[in-house]
Amino acid sequence: MNKEGNNMKEVKLTQEQINAIFDFTRKKYVRYYDVQLELVDHIASEIEVLMGEDPNLSFDKAMYKVYKSFGIFGFAKVVEQKGSALRKFWKRRIVTFLLEYFTFPKVVMTLLLSVGFYGLFWILPLIAMDTFYWQGISWGISWGMVMVLQILYFKLRKKRKEEVKLLVVESLEGTQWMAVIWLWMPIYSIPVGQMDLGYALLNSLIFAVFSILIYGVLFVFPTWLEDEVKTYYTHLRPQSA
């Protein structure tokens, strides 16, 4: 009996009906399991109430009625805004991760890397070869770093058994590649091998931070996902397991 005192039949959806809602969300282009889970529970809860209030209402009709309540954009707005919120979240974590390398004791690592790159791009050109070649070498090294990063990253990624698509994973990957591009760009715009100390220090520092970011992408950021992924995998729906 509900609050108003009307006799409302309690409806509990069957596993087949829950699966039908999962299929429905996929048909409506919700590709991510973490988003599907929440939508399915919401839709199922609403369907149970609607079917309880009106025993003549079919499951399909109730499901469509609930879908309509999501508005003209359907589930797209939910997926888009969750993605946007997650990207902001990861961006903050990546920035915090990089900023840690400007505080003691990690700043020692940043300084050592900067000194290393300074030696490579400014001291070596003075004693060997033309600065023209060192510009090319600098670009070559940054290209090489990105290539190695991609090869290693996708090798490591293949090792992770991915049973379902998760927005939480995809949003971190999108954000980390954006960060790589953002730090990679200035390397091209700052000439190397010149005597200007400002340029030299800035370029060396950017190379150092770029290296730290690459380390993060390969070894730190994947650990951020471990708990999230594990949580979703322990809640895989029966036919997905």
């Binding site: 609050k3 929440e38 399915v40 529970d41």
Partner: protein
């Protein structure tokens, strides 16, 4: 029923306030609870509620937990420590907003 456009700016406050009183809630429960306590005047649309919940989660104001409930999985939201501090800020901001609106709409009453 209150125009959803008017609610848009207050959605975060509603969510945070409810979670400060109920410890943890899931999405559908929030929509139903708001509907119940306002006698149907405030109806949160799903298209607005979930993006708001996800934004608050992304900002670290809410944390979540997945739990099996019958034959499906339910995502529960609760306030983080940062979220508990945010309740005070949000409530103060909302009270100031209501007072200011009163000044504009009903200057004689104030």
């Amino acid at each position: 029923m209150i125009d959803p456009k008017l609610l848009r700016g207050s959605l975060n406050t509603i969510i945070i306030k409810l979670l400060s009183e109920r410890n943890e809630m899931y999405g559908y429960e929030i929509t139903q609870h708001v509907k119940d306590i306002t006698a149907g005047e405030v109806q949160l649309t799903e298209g607005a509620l979930y993006p708001a919940l996800h934004r608050l989660e992304g900002k670290g104001i809410l944390s979540t937990e997945l739990r099996n409930v019958g034959n499906r999985v339910r995502k529960y939201y609760r306030l983080t420590e940062a979220g508990k501090t945010e309740v005070v800020h949000q409530m103060t901001a909302m009270e100031d907003f209501i007072k200011s609106m009163q000044l504009i709409l009903n200057p004689k009453l104030v």
